[in-house]
Amino acid sequence: MRLGGLRGRLLVAFVLVSLLSAATATVPAYDQAREAILERAGASAVQNFRDRVNASVGEFDVPPDQRSLNRLAEAIASGSRDAKVAVRYRALVAPADQEAIPARLRDRVRSENRLSFQRVEWNGAPWLVVGTPVAFAGSGRPSGVEVFQVISLQPEQDDITALLTTVRDGVVPVVLLAAVLALLAAGTVLRPVRRLAKATRRLADGALETRVPVKGRDELADLAKDFNETADALQSSVAELREQEARARRFVADVSHELRTPLAAMTMVSSVLDEDAEDLPPDTAHAARTVSAETAGLARLVDDLIEISRFDAHAASLSRQDLDVAEVLRATLSTRGWTDRVTAEFVTVRARLDRRRLDVIVANLVGNALRHGAPPVTVVLRSTADDVFVEVADRGQGLTAEVARHVFERFFKADTARTRSEGSGLGLAIAQENARLHGGLITGSDREGGGAVFTLRLPRNGKEADR
């Protein structure tokens, strides 16, 4: 149990409150009872002492001698409970052992013609020491005789200890009860809170249909209700968004498909125009070549769009085969006529990959490097036990952090001054989708010494990406 948690805090608070109330209830009562016990014991001891001294000194001659002083001490002590009596007359003392009598009390008795008493701690036990000068019977003048008595307060102490024990025995069950109540109270609060916490986690994990039961009519029930409403709203907006997104993607796919047929016709016508361009007047020839080039670009864009739509519709599938990766890369470079413009460093490694998709990825990366970077462009193939790495590096501008973050987005243009890219603007996005389909990833970063480097990582063992 965490002490900082709700349960711990409640427990501490309850126990403290119960302790506090028990203390405020019992401490003053205990205090008064104790004072009353001591007061009464003291008063009766003093009264009793005075009576016995008065009764004993009737036959006492002043000035006394040692023997008569001893006799007086014995007479006063006889019949009193467990008490030591000492009598002094100037230099005479009976009995000799008087260490229990505090000096301050002795001084007070000597200086004032009053009975005085004091509670002391002596030898680890409580004692009441009473002292009085004895006056003459007739005149009331002090006779010079001083009588002291040391009375044990042990019985009173035992009574007080018993009181304290009673108080303690009363408080302990109360505190335990408070603790139990605190745990119960914490439970009633914590159960709904835990349910809410679990539901929130499930919601965060994407289970948007999660709801919590609303019990009772307290604040926690309100919270649960609010949670459910929030989840409802979230679910409906997410559903709506997904719906919109799906619609948009379907629209793109449909448009792309619709464009293919006219594009095929346009491509055919523009290729015919291209072939005959030399026989046309220069202006017309230029127009024909422009139309042909733009049509080819449009055809590429539509192909790429269709490709992307397949990924979006999760219709893209891998056909893995056992490949010699270096051989695939060499083929990729040679079919596009890049062999002379690229420095290649390949190790021999075999992996289960989709040949066409690997070709698309590498072609995109190298094409990008050639278009946007600056030579020399290097392609490095490395491998570890689990992965194949293809690094495509150039010595161009490099990537700013901003660009590195967005470079795989569709139609992203690193150079904002360039409104038209030579590619479709979808190349890196498609490459990334292909890598993901393999369970891999492409990362772009700055290269030491200037330029950009794109690293493709593909798992060799052919683990499907969980999409």
Binding site: L16, A23, V27, R34, R104, F136, G138, S139, L153, I160
Partner: protein
Amino acid sequence: MKRTFASLAVLVLAAGCGVRPTDVLDGGAPASGVPEGMRIYFASDQGLRGVSRPDREITDLSAAVKLVIAGPNEAELAAGLTDLTAVTGEFSATSLGGQVTVRLPRTPVTGVAGMAAGQLVCTLSRAETLLHGTRPDAVRVTVIAQGGTVGPYQCSQFLTG
């Protein structure tokens, strides 16, 4: 939370535990009852008993002997006191350095034996103390009677606790 703890602790500490020592407290009037002035002694069935004669100013030792011979008053008689001395004829008492000598030439020694001797010894030793300030335990009383001497005795020898 901390404040609660603190106040709780203060409360408990303020109450304290058990019996705490106190300062010296006043307990009222002092004890009294020490007899002042002259005391003479009579016999009772509980041994010698002293009674006060505060109104009597003692000027010499013989006056003390006179007081004893005069016997107990009515209240003392009612309390069971009695005079056992059988002094007859003249008497005199002198003291020298705490040594008191009582001469009873006409009194047989049997008249001043036992408790009667105690009566004289204690009465005279008290008188000696009052007259000359001799310490009670330094006083010795010798009774010279007809046919014998009693003492020297101290008063405390006759007083049984």
